[in-house]
Amino acid sequence: MRKLLLDGLLKRPLTEPAPPPDDAGLAELATRIRRKLGRSLSIREVDAGSCNGCELEIHALNNAFYDLDRFGIRFVASPRHADVLLVTGPVTRNMREALERTWNATPDPKWVVAVGDCALDGGLFAGSYAVEGGVSSVIPVDLHIRGCPPSPTALLQGLLALLEKAERG
């Protein structure tokens, strides 16, 4: 364990000095978050019917390569602490109420980001008796991030776009 810890201290971090435009994008994202919120951005993730593919890539944002934390963006355990709801999946009829309740439990100001092709319009699952459709068929959506699933880089770029939108008001 000592060697691993020492290595961790001595080696260069893995965290990406990502190639442009991501790098610029990431730095910009950090400044904007601070300017806009004067603090950090708290995200509550809600799976409203996803195949779990989108969750895997959202998870990846926390690994050492993307290290979302360094920008003051973090995932929180309760909607009560959230600024942003990150919603995945076609919204299933069985999850509709839970999604509405989560949204209601999130204090204002709040934003909703719909993640993945399913969250846009139900994706391949649209038209099923068990599916409502995209996230916007249940709660208002501020931004869609496309992809099946969107890569962690696409997710970061999406969050940047959200902040732009929020600034324009």
Binding site: D47, S50, N52, N63, A64, A77, R93, F125
Partner: protein, 502 residues
């Protein structure tokens, strides 16, 4: 004891069902099968239905036989299997919800996937629009002094899928856990019916995102069996490379996530890096981080170039360098072992009864691996071991994954060593038929069954996630453990919600 093959021969064979036989049986033979399941002679691999028929795929490990029996039930009633063999319980409740097929003799009359939100009853059967509301869901009782209940979910605190857990605890100790699932039911069965094969393959690959390769492979193999076709050797090898990469990525992720639930974040950080490296190598090699839609009926959709091979080889080298110290770290950290050893034990009789696959089965003495039995190409030509342990706790489920990482690394190496040339894909022949496949995903065996109609569309498709036979065992694993160890137990199972809910 009747051999499974004898039972199948007593029924009326269905022509052209591949690779194993399917026979239509009468109610008496159906009951004979139930008795064999109850006696533990055979295992239940799947139970599913059509509007007026039920099917059951059975495994007889002793004779290395797999077979499917079907019972026509024009009056929408069939003798319950779950009445004698509990692993069928949730499957029968699902059949009732989706098709209105009634398991005669089953005491549990509660719905399972139907939460009364669809606006239709028995959507795949009579599809009634006009119906009485379902009674309020009754959780099983737990009675006694000073018991309290803890409801959790469907929305959980982490970045995970939704489901409801109802704990009954005595102080810190869990007396009973009852799961309630179905929240992410998307109606995949109904979307499959009538779909073109290409669309159906995409749906299959989106049944459980973490197993997209395994599902695409199972669906494709079932279609290929139905159409009686072979896929080119290069495609077979590339499919296996993808399947093993998927296993690696998930095992790395799980090993770290389990340790993280014991508050050992360092392991999580390091295995998270390894997982990311697998995804990047997969992206470089096959053009998608999760390799979605890369396995298609008839072959594979992309070739592996020299650059791709180099990316995978670099990954293997990195894993050989950085994984062993992490294994030592896991093994030598007493505070971590204190949490994982003897926590969440599942006994061997239960995993055998439920025919639980993957690391859940293998950590408790059941060595079943679909790559071996029924087996599929190219694994018969490759050297690999199926690790088995008998302690059945969280620690054992971690160790099975650790050992499987080593096996997958070696398998990928062997596959790259002798990658055959030739085409990637052959067009599907016209024709109809029925086919099935059992494919070993990272969490266990995925069953796919398909019937192709004369016009080349999918008439019906059934996909069964390994989680069906693992979720119930999680309820057993947590009994007598403290509530605080639930995340650890749950993560060591890592069952799929989406794959189960369909």
């Amino acid at each position: 004891m009747t051999a499974l093959i004898d039972l199948i021969q007593q029924g009326r064979p269905v022509d052209g069902h591949r690779p194993w036989p399917r026979a239509i049986v009468d109610a008496d033979l159906w009951e004979v099968a139930a008795a064999h399941l109850a006696a533990g002679d055979w295992s239940l691999l799947d139970l599913w239905g059509e509007p007026d028929r039920v099917h059951m795929t059975l495994l007889e490990e002793a004779g290395a036989t797999v077979g499917t029996v079907s019972l026509d039930c024009p009056d929408r009633r069939y003798p319950s299997i779950a009445r004698r063999h509990p692993p069928a319980l949730r499957l029968e409740r699902t059949l009732r919800d989706l098709y209105g097929l009634e398991p005669v003799g089953l005491a549990d009359d509660r719905a399972w996937l139907d939460h009364d939100r669809w606006g239709v009853r028995h959507p795949l059967g009579s599809a009634e629009q006009d119906f009485e509301p379902l009674p309020k869901y009754r959780f099983l009782p737990a009675e006694g002094e000073s018991l309290h209940r803890i409801p959790v979910g469907p929305v959980h605190a982490g970045i995970i899928e939704p489901g409801h857990f109802r704990f009954t605890a005595n102080g810190e100790t869990v007396v009973r856990l009852e799961e309630r699932l179905g929240y992410v039911h998307k109606g995949i069965d109904s979307l499959m019916a009538g779909a073109a094969i290409e669309r159906a393959a995409m749906l299959a690959g989106r049944t459980s995102g973490d197993s997209t390769v395994a599902y695409a492979l199972a669906f494709s193999a079932a279609v290929e069996a139905a159409l009686g076709m072979e896929v080119p050797a290069r495609a077979v090898a590339l499919r296996a490379v993808m399947a093993e990469l998927e296993r690696l990525a998930n095992h790395f992720g799980d090993i770290g996530a389990i340790c993280n639930d014991a508050a050992f974040a360092m392991m999580h950080a390091h295995t998270g890096v390894l997982r990311e490296r697998v995804l990047r190598a997969s992206d470089a090699a096959f053009g998608h981080r999760l390799m979605r839609d890369r396995v298609v009926p008839g072959g594979v959709a992309v070739d592996l170039t020299a650059d791709g091979i180099a990316a995978i080889r670099a990954l293997l080298a990195e894993a050989h360098r950085s994984f062993p110290p992490l294994v030592t770290l896991y093994d030598e950290t007493a505070s971590l072992q204190d949490r994982t050893v003897t926590t969440g034990i599942v006994g061997e009789p239960l995993v055998r009864q439920y025919a639980a696959g993957g690391y859940v089965g293998r950590a408790s003495g059941r060595s079943f691996d679909a790559r071996r039995l029924p087996g599929y190409a190219p694994y018969a030509d490759l050297p690999f071991e199926v690790p088995v342990r008998h302690d059945g706790d969280v620690n054992a489920r971690v160790w099975i994954r650790i050992q499987e990482v080593g096996q997958s690394l070696a398998l990928i190496e062997a596959l790259l060593e002798r990658l055959p040339g030739g085409p990637l894909h052959v067009p599907l022949p016209a024709g109809s038929g029925e086919g099935a496949a059992l494919v070993e995903g990272f969490r266990g065996d995925v069953h796919a069954w398909v019937r192709i109609a004369a016009d080349g569309t999918v008439e019906r498709c059934r996909l069964r996630d390994p989680s069906w036979f693992q979720w119930p065992l999680l309820e057993a694993a947590i009994e007598g453990n403290i509530v605080a160890d639930f995340p650890l137990c749950n993560k060591s199972f890592n069952c799929s919600y989406s794959g189960h809910d369909l």
